[in-house]
């Protein structure tokens, strides 16, 4: 009995990790390895239960040579960069505005900004679909009464793409805002006072003090949004379904179509590996930035 308690006490912290480690190994790591194996076979809906044939990395060649893959990859990259860029710009401006000039109104303003961030993405898509409707949507009413004419927001290539970007930006600007606001609030005051004494104008203060101080938070927010927008599926799927044509078919929608509409499991798994690769590469950057931030703090 005594030996047992001793063992329990000595390895206490490690033992607490055991159940979680089991769940993660079974529920995440094993499926990942399974999917890696699957990407090397010619599995489809018909043969996946009885030993599909091993075909090496052929799936990867097929996928990379596929013009639809190239289209989807480009759509994903464009979507991620465009929406993330806009989110960071708007989020930064918003944070700067709130930090520098809103004192009493925050308790009211911040909950209003948080509301979109919590919403179910499928519901966000539904809301935008109702607003963007060609015949009865409120947006077309506004553009018409401004003399800009009605547009098929979800029906033409460029506008449909712009619409999903707009829906994503609307929902995610608050995320960037919160991170940058936290960064602003943790800035030291002395350099700013020194700048004021030295007669720096507000543009100079922003350019040479605020932005350099916020480099870390801005970059982290940028990378996190980039990763998340690369994973987007639900909003696009409900809002446009990838259409018109393949104008908004991002990598995830493409993989979904190959995997669950044409049921080409091997090929879909290969696309999955490519998605993981891109996201892990971006994650590596996140760690680099976080580590260098820590190093700066430690100095």
């Amino acid at each position: 009995m005594k030996a047992k308690t001793k063992f329990f006490d000595r390895h206490f912290l490690a033992l607490l990790l055991v159940p979680t480690a089991c769940i993660i190994l079974l529920g995440i790591v094993f499926p990942l390895l399974y999917s890696l194996g699957l990407s090397l076979t010619n599995a489809t809906l018909l043969n996946f239960l009885d030993d599909p044939g091993f075909i090496g990395i052929e799936n990867f060649f097929t996928v990379i040579g596929d013009s639809q893959f190239a289209n989807a990859f480009m759509k994903s990259v464009t979507f991620s960069l465009l929406s993330t860029g806009l989110e960071v710009i708007f989020g930064f401006m918003l944070a700067l505005f709130v930090y520098s000039s809103i004192m009493n109104g925050r308790f009211f303003l911040i909950p209003c900004l948080l509301a979109p961030l919590m919403l179910t993405p499928a519901v966000v898509a539904l809301m935008w679909k109702v607003m963007l409707d060609y015949q009865f949507g409120v947006l077309n009413y506004i553009t018409e009464s401004l003399g800009l004419g009605a547009h098929a927001w979800l029906g033409t290539n460029v506008l449909a793409f712009a619409s999903i970007v707009a829906a994503d930006v609307w929902q995610q600007v608050p995320f960037v805002f919160l991170i940058i606001l936290a960064g602003l609030e943790s800035m030291p005051m002395q350099p700013f006072e020194a700048a004021r004494v030295d007669g720096a104008n507000s543009w100079q203060t922003l350019r040479y003090l605020t932005i350099p101080f916020l480099r870390g938070p801005i970059f982290v927010a940028f990378l996190f949004r980039l990763i998340d927008s690369f994973k987007i599926f639900d909003k696009v799927s409900v809002l446009t379904g990838g259409g018109p044509g393949a104008a908004t078919e991002t990598l995830n929608l493409y993989m979904f179509r190959i995997g669950f509409q044409t049921f080409d499991f091997g090929k879909a798994a290969a696309i999955g590996q490519i998605i993981i690769f891109v996201i892990m590469a971006l994650t590596w950057f996140v760690f680099r930035v976080m580590d260098s931030e820590n190093a700066v703090e430690a100095d």
Binding site: F12, L13, A14, L16, L17, P19, T20, I23, I24, G27, I28, P31, L32, S35, L38, L49, L94, S101, I102, L109, I110, P111, C112, L113, L114, P116, M118, L119, T120, P121, A122, V123, A125, L126, M127, V130, F136, Y141, W170, F175, L178, I179, A182, V220, A221, F224, I227, D234, V238, N252, M255, F256, F260, F265, I275, I276, I279, V286, F287, M290
Partner: protein, 279 residues
């Protein structure tokens, strides 16, 4: 002019423009939600009126229809049961793991990093193998399957949040308890966990929202027996695109619990929503 008056006239334009800008921000961020709500309480005739009506006779008919003519009550039930059960599993195992990681001195950082990697993992990457595994295990389209999957996939998210909350509690607390003759387990269970209650509550709610909002897994792995709200609403959009009243009413019903829970944990919400990005 009195100095008071002078100050007011000088400051006035700035205050006004600031106020206008705030109104503009609030308008942009709340308009789509407000519009959805307005559409949900309009009669069909008013929904499609041009110009859009701001004054109209409100009706609860759409809400009634969502729950009687459409199977949304069933979707609500499925979403709730899957969300609550997954959250219980996540908090149960995740709190132990998070406590452990927050108490390791050197290994803690590497462990936390691997949790973050798992948290970032794209759901698209494991939905395909999950489909095949579930098919073989007979877990497709079952509550149990969804609960297991959500527990596993959201566990890193929960742990990541909880690590932060446990790190806020100083180690000296347990060290004092150990000196007083507690076992390590007692020190954790009787001293730390009660103090971490607010953090545990906030994490539970955020996990619940995470499960509530999830789309891809539910779309692929469920069909007839089990259907969660996001899938229900997405299908509704595809099948009855023109039933705007019911569509928007369903949307509002999905949002409502999120907003109510969100209000309870407002203090922790910012941290939860930006998790991973702020240490």
């Amino acid at each position: 002019m009195s100095p008071m008056m002078r100050m007011i006239t000088r400051k006035f334009p700035r205050t006004i423009s600031k106020f206008a800008l705030v109104l503009c921000i609030v308008f942009i961020s709340l308009f789509p939600i407000a519009w959805t709500f307005l559409t949900s309480v309009k009669e069909p005739v008013d929904q499609f009126a041009k110009p859009p009506l701001l004054i109209f006779k409100a009706t609860t008919e759409n809400y009634h229809a969502v729950f009687t003519k459409q199977p949304f009550l069933k979707y609500f039930f499925d979403s709730t049961i899957i969300g609550v059960a997954s959250t219980v599993v996540i908090i149960g195992f995740g709190s132990l793991a998070a406590y452990s990681i927050s108490r390791y001195r050197r290994k803690g950082k590497a462990l936390a990093k691997s949790i973050l990697i798992l948290r970032i993992l794209p759901p698209m990457a494991i939905v395909l193998p999950m489909f095949i595994l579930f098919k073989q295990l007979g877990l497709l389209d079952s509550h149990l399957g969804m609960i297991l999957l959500y527990s596993a996939f959201n566990l890193p998210f929960g742990i990541w949040l909880l690590i932060g909350f446990f790190q806020d509690l100083p180690r000296e607390l347990e060290e004092a308890a150990l000196v007083d003759g507690c076992s390590k387990f007692q020190a954790m269970w009787r001293i730390i966990f009660p103090l971490a209650k607010p953090g545990l509550a906030a994490t539970s709610i955020l996990c619940l929202i995470q499960c509530w909002n999830e789309y891809l897994f539910a779309l692929v792995l469920c069909s007839f027996n089990v259907k969660t709200l996001p899938i229900g609403v997405a299908q509704f959009v595809q099948e009855h695109e023109i039933l705007w009243g019911q569509l928007t009413a369903a949307g509002i019903c999905i949002m409502l619990p999120i907003f109510i829970f969100g209000m309870f944990i407002q203090k922790h919400l910012v941290r939860g929503l930006t998790t991973g990005a702020i240490k």
